[in-house]
Symmetry: C2
Subunit: 316 residues, 2 copies
């Protein structure tokens, strides 16, 4: 009935920008853990190691759009940059609230520092305490749901799963051009209703709409030891970020330090049937990371190394 080469799109641009991929200690090239997850105009920050605000500036992110920050655990390389970012927002006159998801002690640390430096924030800081030992929905807005889940590290640590919500139907552009439906009618069609023309004839919904793309998902796992208990939480995601602190020669160290090797990460990706794997949280020992990539791709082919400053689009 209608050509489909032009459609009214409601596709969301879902991506992750790596701000820091170094484990524990920064190096000349690598910064501490942090990444910016974007779903169109929703900006989420995941972890906030020291220097995150500088990286956000360096890579020209519109970081004022960040309204939700997720902190995986209380090792300094994952959150020592948070107080600085909170202060900068304050100095820049932020007024809208900022939500922070993390263990309850994070709230104590931030509030204690704000008290001592006598800063009365101009905006509201809302802390959400993540519950231990469960898969939990911790955030929802009109287009995204975020879940937390337990990882296996020396201290309580959480992974995060970002799930796009199913999008509404797309309307074929030819139909819009021909029939000039009202805004109300467009909303009804996008919700699945048929269209009734001025002369009373019915055009079935499936003739004038295109199904939206399948919702995408992204999971963040850092820091964690190899543990198959996390498979349920990350299964089938479009993109999995998994820490790969060490190479295979350091398997014993990985176990004792509660970290993963590149091969561990790839094994989780394979067993979790994810679409794509991105490695990060590299030990400063591994200046040459091609070895890590090689070890991972032997197990899971669709693996890439994270590069700081790169924005990775999450694809079907």
């Amino acid at each position: 009935m209608f050509s489909i080469f032009e459609i009214m799109k409601t596709n969301l641009n879902f991506s992750v920008t790596i701000l820091g991929n170094s484990a524990a200690i920064p190096t000349k090239q690598s910064h501490l853990s942090s990444q910016l997850v974007k779903n169109n105009n929703d900006y989420f920050l995941v972890d906030c190691g020291e220097g995150t605000q500088m990286q956000l500036i360096r890579y020209k992110t519109k970081y004022h759009k960040i309204d939700n920050i997720f902190i995986s655990h209380l090792h300094g390389d994952h959150f020592f940059g948070l107080i600085g970012l909170i202060s900068t927002f304050h100095l820049q006159g932020r007024e809208k609230p900022l939500s922070i998801f993390g263990p309850k002690e994070l709230q104590e640390i931030i509030e204690f520092q704000l008290k001592i430096v006598q800063t009365d924030l101009k905006y509201k800081l809302i802390f959400h305490h993540i519950q231990p030992n469960k898969y939990d929905q911790i955030f929802e807005n009109k287009s995204m749901i975020v879940y937390s889940f337990p990882l296996v590290h020396r201290i309580p640590t959480w992974g995060f799963r970002f799930e796009q919500k199913p999008q509404k139907l797309n309307i074929k552009k030819d139909f819009v051009n021909s029939f000039k439906p009202s805004i109300d009618e467009i909303l009804c069609i996008k919700n699945g209703q048929d269209y009734i023309t001025d002369d009373g004839s019915v055009i079935p919904n499936n003739e004038i709409t295109i199904k939206p793309p399948k919702p995408l998902s992204y999971a963040y796992c850092s820091d964690t030891r190899y543990d198959e208990s996390i498979l349920d939480y990350i299964s089938g995601v479009s993109l999995l970020f998994h820490e790969a602190t060490f190479d295979n020669t350091m398997q014993d160290l990985a176990i004792s330090k509660y970290h993963s090797t590149a091969k561990d990460a790839a094994t989780i990706a394979t067993k979790g049937k994810v679409s794509k794997l991105i490695l990060g949280h590299f030990s400063a020992r591994h200046k040459e990371r091609s070895q890590l990539l090689e070890e991972a791709t032997e197990v899971f082919r669709n693996t890439i190394l994270s590069v700081e400053g790169m924005e990775y689009t999450i694809q079907p």
Copy 2:
């Protein structure tokens, strides 16, 4: 008696490396307050804004030599990087103690964070609480004395004055070559004693020694409003670092925010009869800093703008 073109030198290499010169908020080019003061092999860190450890790495400083850190005040841009640096030293296996000079609340903040992140440091952290409202000697070793003094800011804030101790006499090399004095004899001569030759004749000390260069001094004043009460503390220093947050058009803002203009800094330098002035702590508004330099040099000619990564030798 002896030619003087070659002498046994005991001159110390005294310098300051600027790690960050941005006020309050980092920018793409400028980092938060921190500088490395070196007196030969003694490394002192002055202030430690977020990202200081990255700057120390970036500029290839031998930052493990830092044994003493001085924090001017508890505004975040001057100390939020301290916990990260302390943690990195720990992760790198530091064993020697680290002294931190600052207000007593600084100890509370650091210890509270170390407790929450469950870090039991491998080395000893020694806090020295700076006393308010007085000029106070807070550090001394064989070649350097450091004083703290009150600045005029919104919260208790200290400046620091680094004073080289007078050095011992230099011995003329010709004398050493001719008479081959023992180590003990060299030490006696350097302390001013005459030399008695094998045949019993006396060579007066002033014939075989050269007076060492005059001790040098460096003062750090950031953050502060223009206030002549600090003149006594900084008078006659070889190099004065003074904050110059604003230009002259923002004089009122400088007063209300307890900061200085470039002209304020230059006026302090003039009245304090210092040898040289270096400006820093620039507001992010001043991307073009030549205006600040112009305004300062109109009042005090020997002024320079601090540049990050530059090491400035402190000279007579």
